[in-house]
């Protein structure tokens, strides 16, 4: 290990220790920051999981479906069957994975806008069905038992652990042969297939990984905010939020979606608590400007600054990952 690498590992360790120590300080002095951190981390997991699927070139609008399936499965098995919450959350994420595999087999042969419409339709169908069923609580929703006794410190540590797992999985995907397969599929699916890449298999796998994290985040949401209804957990806003953060932060990387989620949520919170009513306009304007003038997101800007390139110069090289 070189000296530079040692410094980097040390810095990473310090950041991790700070992230783990943070809730103990925040809970004592400023629980507000702890709540904001939980909201940011949950959003970051959704964003990163959406990005892992996007690496295969698919614009999914089904994230709300997996998020909702995780939330409802966990809520139902804990309230109706009395199962422990951790088991419920695990089942929630597994149901999302299984459904993702099925949906993947059905829709991953679709491309581009057709895939997006198909996944959106799936999400909407789940919303309508959940709305109509009595055992799901129907449209009025369900009250859900609290995770870890409602204590925010262990809740934070749990969601931080899920984020770390998502980071590790994303990092491993980007460092493995899967990265080349994903990139090949995204660049030209037909050529990738001709080169021997098992396109459907990789797409379905990406879908399943993505759904696992969306499902567990949905289940976590249910047990932290204690109430779910179809209109919230199957909301298009969940799917759109999950794709905006990676675009904002930088697509196809591990750091980009996380950075995007942090900047968006922090910015939104600052605007919300200072500007009040007019802030969505400012927020939307900033978002539009970034997407228009920073097509590679914040990570792309960082890369440009680092290499001393002029602003706006486009690179065709794919981001190499973390």
């Amino acid at each position: 290990m070189s000296g530079r690498q040692a410094v980097q590992v040390l810095a990473l360790a310090v950041v991790l220790v700070a992230a783990v120590a943070f809730p103990f300080w925040a809970n004592r002095t400023q629980p507000y920051y702890l709540q904001i951190a939980i909201n940011i981390i949950s959003f970051a997991i959704l964003a990163l999981s959406w990005d892992m699927l996007a690496r295969t070139g698919q614009l999914s609008l089904a994230h709300a479906a997996f998020y909702g399936l995780g939330a409802y499965t966990s809520a139902l098995v804990t309230t109706r069957m009395g199962l422990p919450i951790f088991l419920g959350m695990l089942l929630g994420s597994l149901v999302a994975v299984v459904v993702a595999a099925g949906l993947g087999m059905l829709t991953l042969r679709l491309r581009g806008i057709y895939f997006a419409i198909g996944t959106l339709a799936f999400s909407e169908t789940l919303r309508v069905v959940t709305n109509q069923l009595r055992f799901t609580g129907g449209a009025t929703g369900l009250v859900v038992p609290p995770l870890l006794g409602g204590q925010r410190v262990p809740q934070y540590l749990l969601i931080l652990a899920v984020l770390l797992l998502a980071v590790v999985v994303s990092w491993m995907v980007n460092r493995s042969r899967w990265h080349f397969a994903f990139t090949a599929i995204r660049t030209n699916e037909a050529v990738a297939g001709a080169m021997g890449v098992d396109v459907v298999r990789f797409k379905v796998l990406a879908f399943m990984i993505s759904a696992f994290f969306a499902g567990i985040t949905g289940a976590y949401y249910a047990h932290v905010f204690l109430f779910i209804s179809p209109i919230e957990v199957y909301s298009l806003a969940v799917s759109v939020g999950a794709l905006v953060a990676p675009i904002f932060g930088g697509l196809y990387t591990t750091a980009g979606p996380i950075l995007g989620a942090v900047v968006l949520r922090v910015g939104e919170e600052i605007l919300r608590s200072t500007v009040q009513r007019g802030y969505p306009i400012i927020y939307g304007l900033i978002l539009a400007l970034v997407i228009l003038y920073m097509p590679r997101g914040l990570i792309g800007v960082w890369a440009s600054v680092k290499s001393g390139l002029a602003t706006g110069r486009k690179e065709t090289r794919e981001p190499a990952g973390p």
Binding site: Q8, A11, L12, V15, A18, T29, Q30, P31, Y32, Y33, L34, Q35, I36, A37, I38, N39, V128, N131, Q132, G138, A139, T140, G141, L142, V143, P146, G150, V167, W171, Y221, F225, L226, F227, S229, P230, I231, E232, G249, T253, T254, A255, G256, I258, L259, V262, V263, V266, E269, I270, R272, S273, T274, Q276, R277, Y279, P280, L298, I299, W302, P322
Partner: protein, 396 residues
């Protein structure tokens, strides 16, 4: 190492938020801080903005004679209709703004997210919104929780009680297929039966659909006395106009949108349509008239939503409780709130009593009104009625 750099930027941003939010503590402020959590933006932002105006009017009045000799200061947080934001807003209010009392509330999901936090950090919670009984269950043991808005079952009971008062025997339902309409379907059957009304048919529709003539034609075939529409403001105008197109004229068309479309009073086809609400601007109670006049003067517009007088009532009664309690001690405030007896712009006496599960429930009844020549004339219950119901009404 992009990840590491991203984390560094992240930490810098978090520090920025903390710095932005830092407020030096220079001893106890002289003001009484009341935290308000309402949706100023998002899908129900219009109702939240009406609430903000109601609070503003109340605050002007309260600070002319401040309780305990200390001015009241409102710290307003926009929850965006989003539960995580609402939970964070409460924690900010309690830990950073150091509020003394919590008021506000509109939607059930955000209310539950806030309620879960308040259970861990009890504070006087004088809450206007949330009709979902699950919220009532959640806070059933909370002595410090005061709920102003009727619960869902109160709304259903009022609606079917009013229909029974008309002499109607049958009704047909048209409900939008979202949560608002679906919850009405669940409750309507039992309440209609209890009040001796037979529901002859139930049709669902997608809110905002421009063409409701197929639905109205089917309803016409059901030939019920009353047509009950459970939809939103955008559905009311198509029903009013298209009912005439298809020659549908039941004895009464009753709609219960959360708010009525602006300018509906000018729609001739809307004449004689009835509605349910907690309050209307035509309420003849003297306190209501005063409220409407002051609202017009202050904001140069008409109050169209009951959320404004409800928010006004909310803050006025809290200030009154502070005066009677003589302190901001939670136990003293709770006792004073329980002794509330107030007749304000809503036009109905407000006291807090036990509900099915809750300790302190305020209003339990809606009123019925009918559009008569561009005015919302209150027609039920008798004690607050400002006119007579036109029944059977003509919609041709």
């Amino acid at each position: 190492m992009k990840l590491l750099r991203a984390i560094t930027v992240l930490l810098a941003l978090v520090a920025l938020v903390m710095a932005a939010g830092y407020q030096p503590v220079l001893g106890q402020a002289a003001t009484i801080k009341v935290g308000v959590i309402i949706p100023l933006t998002g899908p129900v932002g219009v109702s939240g903005q009406a609430m903000q105006k109601g609070y503003t009017l109340a605050l002007d009045e309260i600070n002319q004679n401040p309780p305990l000799g200390r001015k009241v200061e409102l710290v307003i947080e926009d929850d965006r209709g989003d539960p995580p934001t609402a939970a964070a807003a409460f924690l900010k209010l309690v830990n950073r703004d150091r509020i003394d009392i919590l008021v506000g509330g509109l939607q059930s999901a955000t209310s539950i997210a806030v309620g879960a936090q308040v259970l861990q950090r009890p504070i006087l919670m004088a809450w206007t919104g949330a009709a979902f009984p699950g919220f009532e269950t959640m806070l059933k043991d909370a002595d410090w929780f005061f709920h102003y808005h009727p619960w869902q079952y109160n709304n259903a009971d009022s609606t079917w009680r009013f229909i029974r008062s008309t002499g109607a025997k049958t009704a047909t339902l048209a409900v939008e297929d979202g949560p608002f309409g679906s919850s009405a379907i669940v409750e309507s059957g039992a309440f209609a039966r209890n009040h001796g009304i037979t529901i002859t048919s139930t049709e669902t529709f997608k809110t905002g659909s421009p063409d409701l003539t197929p639905l109205l034609t089917k309803a016409k075939g059901a030939n019920a006395d009353v047509f009950v529409l459970v939809g939103f403001d955008q559905d009311v105008v198509p029903v009013a106009t298209q009912a005439r197109q298809v020659g549908f004229s039941p004895k009464l068309i009753l709609a219960a949108p959360p708010s009525w479309p602006v300018g509906f009073e000018k729609l001739a086809a809307g004449n004689n349509m009835a509605g349910m609400a907690l309050w209307t601007a035509e309420n003849g109670h003297p306190a209501s008239r005063t409220f409407v006049r002051r609202y017009r003067e202050r904001f140069n517009e008409e109050p169209t939503s009951y959320w404004a007088p409800l928010a006004y009532t909310n803050l006025i009664t809290v200030a009154d409780a502070i005066r009677r309690a003589g302190s901001l001690d939670l136990a003293a405030l709770t006792r004073a709130m329980k002794a509330t007896d107030y007749e304000g712009p809503i036009g109905m006496r407000l006291t807090f009593k036990r509900s099915i599960q809750g300790q302190n429930q305020g209003f339990t009844r809606l009123i019925a009104f009918q559009w008569q020549n561009g005015k919302q004339v209150v027609v039920w219950p008798q004690e607050v009625a400002g006119g007579r119901l036109v029944y059977p009404a003509l919609y041709r």
